[in-house]
Symmetry: C2
Subunit: 350 residues, 2 copies
């Protein structure tokens, strides 16, 4: 039986969750050097930034690392939906003195593509993980071509079986507690989303490939609990968000350290797809799931200038304050120390 | 330090979750005799039935047991809300040939009261647990008067601190995965509800009293995981629903054994308060959270005749098919065997 460590080539069966907007190569390097699998979130990186971050990782560690991509189908922009969205945001534009006509429309997040695969092939990342399903069989074959292992997130038994059948080497069981974007891709019905305690053992039972637990794991006890439920390893994000290697904004750091972090919700206001963040003003007033938000990732451009203006005034009222439901693991210590502390959970579970 | 077993007077720190409509004294007796804490759900029992069930438990076991009550404030019935509800159900009444004028209105579920406390005092149940908060200080003092230990459910850190401050001897951390009624009572905002992996460790950290894990625990691995997260014990419901001691209907048993059990949702259609059950026709067509449903527990009477007619035809389309998100622990074995199997999780966690 292959362990997750053997599959990934790491010392620990521990993956640092890729967190777009929260970290780049420095975090991945620190975690990989500490024995975990560091991850680079690539959805918001253009080709030049991606190349530069990959070069930095290759220079910073000789350990395995993961690159993460979204693989959504970009929607056809709808002027009507965009107008609805701008209308919903209009009072805020007025409040902040923003000229709505000056706001560019644009995608915000790009899916995995042939161009990206070409670029990756130069760097041959040992692990590639996907959110929102998997790319086409052709693209996946290219990734496998340089020997990469493929991971992907499942939020239901059906999605996990689909990922296994389509070639995932291991499946991430993304429990409802997890921060950031929900990875669901077979159904958009949020009532189908399961807590980690329910999702994880059902995937372990249903799959042949290793199952990686994600969602609510904050410390060594959480790791031990996930292993008790049959996980082959864990993926942890929120606990890394206060580390010096994270690019988490000051506003976001304050929120994570406050009692506000007790109340997160899934919201589609920041990108168009449900993602978990700390509840703030715009989530309270328009949502958290707002019908006016256009399809992923098109909601981003409309809200971006509000975020920028509010943040310039020290406010997170329009910022995506991504967080899982359990921020108690957040500590202002180096990512290597978070990794080592989490790793104690594997010893406890033996 | 007092363990949960010492507090409850049981061999095991394991509580069989009270499940109104699913079990009466036979289940409580079987679990208590097997070393756990059997529970009698009392919210739907009139005085005579309550007396008779308590007498049966006292005759069936000399071990500790738990009696469970709701402690909601009964709403003032609103003819307008009731009319809205009947209008929403009218197409179904027509389909089943039900004369809407013949349907009685009525509460369905009664809160804990002085009359009930009088009756309980004759039987002195060793443990009394509450859902939706706690009864008045006066009523609680009466319960304590015969030496009962008091348990109550929390769904947020705030609720847990409130229960501890108001005299709960232990707090049940009801994770979002749990079947049946959500126990929230300080806020009705469902986005505040947390998965077990996030709720449990936060309550363990916040409280001085023991924390009992509930929600998604299906087997010994689940018990071990809960203990790893710091629980003093566990409360398990769904895993008992196929036992011969359960009064679970044949229709409900079939649903629990099928793949339909993979998709549960919180719904207010059956009682007026959100409760988790397997998704069925009425939940798909009117909800699962429907604005037309009147306040708890007033929704019950309007839907009851539909349930009766549909069940008579072998259909669960209008039945509350209560279930947690993880029905994989359901086995058609005696409740004592379920109890012993779960208990192996405590050994694993030592």
């Amino acid at each position: 039986m292959t362990t997750l460590q053997q599959l990934l080539g790491t010392e620990l069966p521990l993956i640092q969750a890729p967190m777009a907007g929260i970290q780049v190569s420095a975090m991945a390097i620190a975690v990989s050097n500490a024995g975990g699998l560091g991850s680079l979130p690539c959805a918001m990186l253009g080709p030049e930034a991606l190349r530069s971050e990959l070069a930095a990782i290759r220079a910073g560690t000789d350990k395995p690392f993961n690159v993460n991509f979204f693989c959504h189908t970009p929607p056809v922009p709808s002027p009507e939906h965009e107008a609805t969205w701008r209308a919903a945001l209009a009072p805020y534009y007025a409040e902040y003195g923003i000229d709505a006509a000056s706001i560019p429309t644009g995608p915000g997040r790009n899916p995995f593509s042939a161009e990206v695969a070409d670029l990756l092939a130069e760097f041959k990342p040992p692990v590639v993980s996907f959110h929102f399903g998997l790319p086409s069989a052709e693209l996946l074959a290219r990734v496998r071509g340089w020997g990469a292992k493929v991971l992907a997130s499942a939020t239901t038994v059906e999605e996990a079986l689909w990922l296994e059948a389509h070639g995932a080497d291991a499946v991430i069981a993304q429990g409802l507690e997890a921060g950031g974007h929900r990875g669901h891709f077979l159904s958009h019905d949020l009532t189908r989303q399961l807590g980690t305690f329910a999702l994880l053992p059902q995937l372990v039972r249903a799959l042949k490939v290793p199952v990686i637990a994600a969602g609510g794991i904050a410390d060594a006890n959480g790791v031990a609990a996930a292993m008790a439920l049959g996980a082959a390893g864990v993926q942890v994000g929120t606990a890394y968000m206060l580390t010096p290697e994270a690019t988490t904004s000051a506003i976001h750091r304050v929120a994570l350290k406050s009692e506000a972090a007790r109340h997160t919700a899934l919201t589609n206001l920041f990108t168009g797809r449900p993602a978990r963040g700390i509840v703030n003003r715009v989530m309270r007033e328009l949502g958290p799931i707002g019908a006016a938000a256009p399809e992923f990732p098109l909601a981003t451009s409309g809200i971006a200038p509000l975020r920028a203006k509010a943040e310039a005034q020290g406010s997170g009222d329009f910022s995506p304050l991504w967080s899982g439901q359990n921020a108690t693991g957040c500590r202002e210590v180096p990512a290597a120390e978070v990794t080592r502390a989490l790793a104690r959970g594997f010893q406890a579970s033996r």
